[in-house]
């Protein structure tokens, strides 16, 4: 937990009825986590820029009729935030169910089975079935890279891979093509990964991917585990250097 020094820039707010002090400029998500208040996220990853795409961290703020993404909303003096409510719970479930319905997430035969943030989120949100019809899109697996694999069937478009590739590795091999449900991760100008001239093969994208979309080649069912601890350290060291 980061210690908070009470200065003139300190502000106070309430999260779930608890009085909390924080530095100005901190996001609701940061402050909540510093105070052991859990807000679910999928696209957020410490060390990468905030994306605000998955909408799982939506919270209620007293006086505002709409919901706010906790990862992208800075705290304000006197703010009263609610991170749990029947409405939020229902929306979060709905979002994850829609992620499952959108592509082909077959946990039982996925290489990330047992080590998947999407799967864990479904368990956490007590999702026992999906109320939406599955789309069953026909999506390809890009197995052209020597030791990494992109399975579009398992991708939730959190773009952690795009961010780590551009922001941390500096390669910007990965990006997104298309819109809406047709959006997809691409390499360079939508080439097979193995033919990319810019990919350094660092593997950071694989480690930050929350699901079985980006994995090591050669892994069998349930064998893929991700190492995400490197990212905050890497970011911290770079900041210290600069």
């Amino acid at each position: 937990m980061t210690s908070v020094t009470l200065t003139a820039e300190s502000i106070t707010l309430q999260i779930d009825g608890k009085d909390i002090s924080c530095r100005s400029g901190e996001t609701i998500l940061q402050v909540a986590r510093e105070n052991n208040i859990d807000i679910p996220t999928l696209c957020f990853l410490e060390g990468l820029t905030v994306w605000g795409g998955c909408r799982l961290c939506m919270v209620e703020i007293a006086g505002s009729p709409k919901l706010h993404a906790a990862c992208a909303t800075t705290c304000a003096e006197g703010m009263a935030v609610s991170t749990t409510s029947p409405r939020l719970k229902e929306y979060r479930k709905m979002i994850v169910e829609m992620l499952f319905a959108e592509r082909n997430h077959v946990c039982s035969v996925c290489v990330s089975n047992g080590h998947c943030e999407l799967q864990n989120m479904a368990v956490k949100l007590e999702i026992d079935h999906v109320r939406f019809p599955y789309r069953f899109p026909r999506l390809e697996v890009d197995n052209s890279h020597d030791y990494m694999r992109l399975d579009q069937n398992r991708c939730i478009l959190c773009v952690r891979c795009v961010r780590v590739c551009g922001e941390i590795e500096g390669a910007h091999t990965k990006d997104v093509k298309g819109r809406g449900v047709l959006a997809a991760i691409i390499h360079d100008l939508d080439q097979p990964w193995g033919e990319s001239q810019t990919c350094t093969g660092c593997g950071k994208c694989v480690n930050v991917c929350p699901t079985g979309a980006l994995t090591q080649r050669g892994t069998a069912v349930g064998e893929m585990t991700k190492k995400t601890d490197f990212l905050p350290y890497l970011t911290l060291m770079r900041e210290a250097k600069s």
Binding site: N143, D151, G218, A220, V221
Partner: protein
């Protein structure tokens, strides 16, 4: 007036099927067919998936015999990787495969078939089931249930869970055996052997009660096929695929290095009344190339088992029935012998000094674009055949499932039993139970074989040639 009796679906089997019995004007059986009415389609939907996922995906074909599909799929992947798996991994895979056979055979014999044998083919259907067994023969039922548990426990101890363990991977297995696990399994062996011994004692007593069934339960000469060791012994994981005739005389053999040429010996026909394909021995043509696989076939193909107790029992079997008994009724006895063999062999494998080695996986990238894996599932020889593209994605798959090999024999068997026992002028439940019981001898796993699940109500209709229903028997 010709009529048709339909048994839809067939009960106490694994999967969905129906039987139609066609009667002539005099009410005598003219023909009978066994229809597999479900469709799975694994061959198609694995297309585009990475090779390394295949064992995990293919295991999902079945909840009873997932390990069999794990083995055949992993072997096909090993073939594509062109690797020899470490000797310890080979032994560990064998142990799991045998444990699978023990649990599946126990399910088939005790849970599904033994009610027919204990209560009689014409017994009260309300008693003639596993619950009747538990009520009236609790010790016998307990032995069956605990034998199955033994097999399932071994699978779970090795692979982490009883059903669909992800432990078998291309190139070997993904976790070594611990000393503690080995000792836990070894401790259970004597009790498991005692349970099979009791079941065999019982079987010896009842076997003679069913001469008419022995005589008419798919009792005809066919070829038999199964894997054998280089010494001609019983084999379930890897070995030459051998065909013998009805006298146990060798007809053809495919060495392990030639498994990819299985197409020279086996071809598949289709019929418009079943989703299950009809494999046949190619050199003899269709349908003359009828052959059987499974426990009985394996005991006919093999010279002997290779373990002490199983060989003693096989001696009794052959003394009483001859070298190559043709009636499929004897599948039951063969199944019990294989349970005994399986337990003994698990014990032997666990006692190898290298069984605890931690080198259990060979790693390689695909080195071939095509691979075949052949192993023995409880029901018989299982063939997985894959083709991949240069990126290691599956582009084509062909599965020949054990139940498929027996399809021609099951159809002929159904007809033989119907001709012998069914009187179209007066339907009786026991007649039709025999028609189902012949299918149970083969222990078909239909969910595996066509790539569906569901309830199995039994409804038998007698229909006039104009479709008018003359008589109906219904069982829920």
């Amino acid at each position: 007036m010709t009529r048709t009796i339909t048994i839809d679906g067939v009960t106490r089997i694994e999967g969905h099927a129906k039987i139609t019995i066609h009667l002539d004007d005099a009410g005598k059986v003219r023909d009978a067919q066994f229809h597999v009415t479900q469709f799975r389609g694994f061959e198609k939907f694995v297309e585009g998936r990475p090779l390394t996922e295949m064992p995990g995906i293919m295991a999902r074909i079945c909840g009873i015999c997932p390990v069999s599909h794990l083995m055949a799929a992993a072997k096909a992947c090993d073939d594509i990787l062109a690797v020899q798996i470490p000797p310890t991994a080979d032994k560990l895979r064998r142990i799991m495969n045998l444990a699978q056979m023990v649990q599946s055979h126990a399910l088939s014999f005790f849970h599904l078939s033994s009610p027919d044998l204990l209560f009689g083919m014409d017994g009260d259907p309300m008693r003639r089931n596993i619950f009747g067994l538990i009520r009236e023969h609790p010790d016998f039922a307990r032995d069956g249930i605990l034998l199955r548990k033994f097999g399932q426990d071994v699978i779970a101890l090795l692979g982490g869970k009883k059903i669909h363990p992800a432990w078998v991977v291309p190139g070997g297995v993904n976790a070594p055996l611990t000393e503690e696990t080995r000792d836990t399994i070894l401790k259970q062996i004597p009790e498991a052997i005692a349970r099979v011994d009791r079941a065999l004692d019982y079987f010896h007593q009842v076997e003679d009660r069913y001469p008419a069934e022995v005589d008419a339960f798919a009792n005809f000469p066919t070829l038999f096929a199964g894997l054998v060791t280089p010494d001609g012994l019983l084999e379930h994981y890897d070995g030459a695929m051998k065909f013998v005739d009805h006298n146990a005389t060798p007809v053809a053999e495919l060495s392990p290095s030639n498994h990819s040429h299985y197409g020279s010996l086996i071809s598949e026909a289709v019929e418009n009344y079943s989703y299950l394909k009809f494999p046949y021995f190619k050199p003899h043509g269709y349908p003359a190339g009828i052959y059987r696989v499974g426990p009985l076939a394996r005991l006919i193909v093999a010279e002997r088992c290779g373990t002490v107790r199983a060989d003693m029992e096989l001696g009794v079997f052959r003394t009483r029935l001859g070298r190559a008994p043709q009636s499929s009724f004897h599948y039951h006895w063969a199944r019990l012998i294989e349970i005994l063999y399986g337990i003994e062999m698990i014990q032997r494998l666990l006692q190898y000094p290298d069984i605890l080695n931690t080198h259990i996986r060979s790693r390689a990238r695909p080195n071939r674009l095509e691979g075949v894996g052949i192993s023995e599932a409880p029901r018989g020889t299982l063939i997985h055949h894959y083709k991949i593209d240069e990126n290691g994605l599956i582009r084509w798959a062909n599965l020949i499932i054990a139940t498929g090999h027996n399809n021609l024999a099951m159809n002929l068997g159904v007809r033989q039993v119907a001709e012998r026992f069914v009187d179209g002028n007066k339907l009786q439940e026991g007649m039709l139970n025999r028609v189902e019981a012949v299918i149970r001898c083969f222990d078909p796993c239909l969910s595996c074989s066509t790539h569906a699940l569901g309830q199995m109500p039994l409804r038998i209709e007698l229909c006039a040639s104009d479709g008018e229903v003359c008589d109906v028997l219904q069982r829920n």
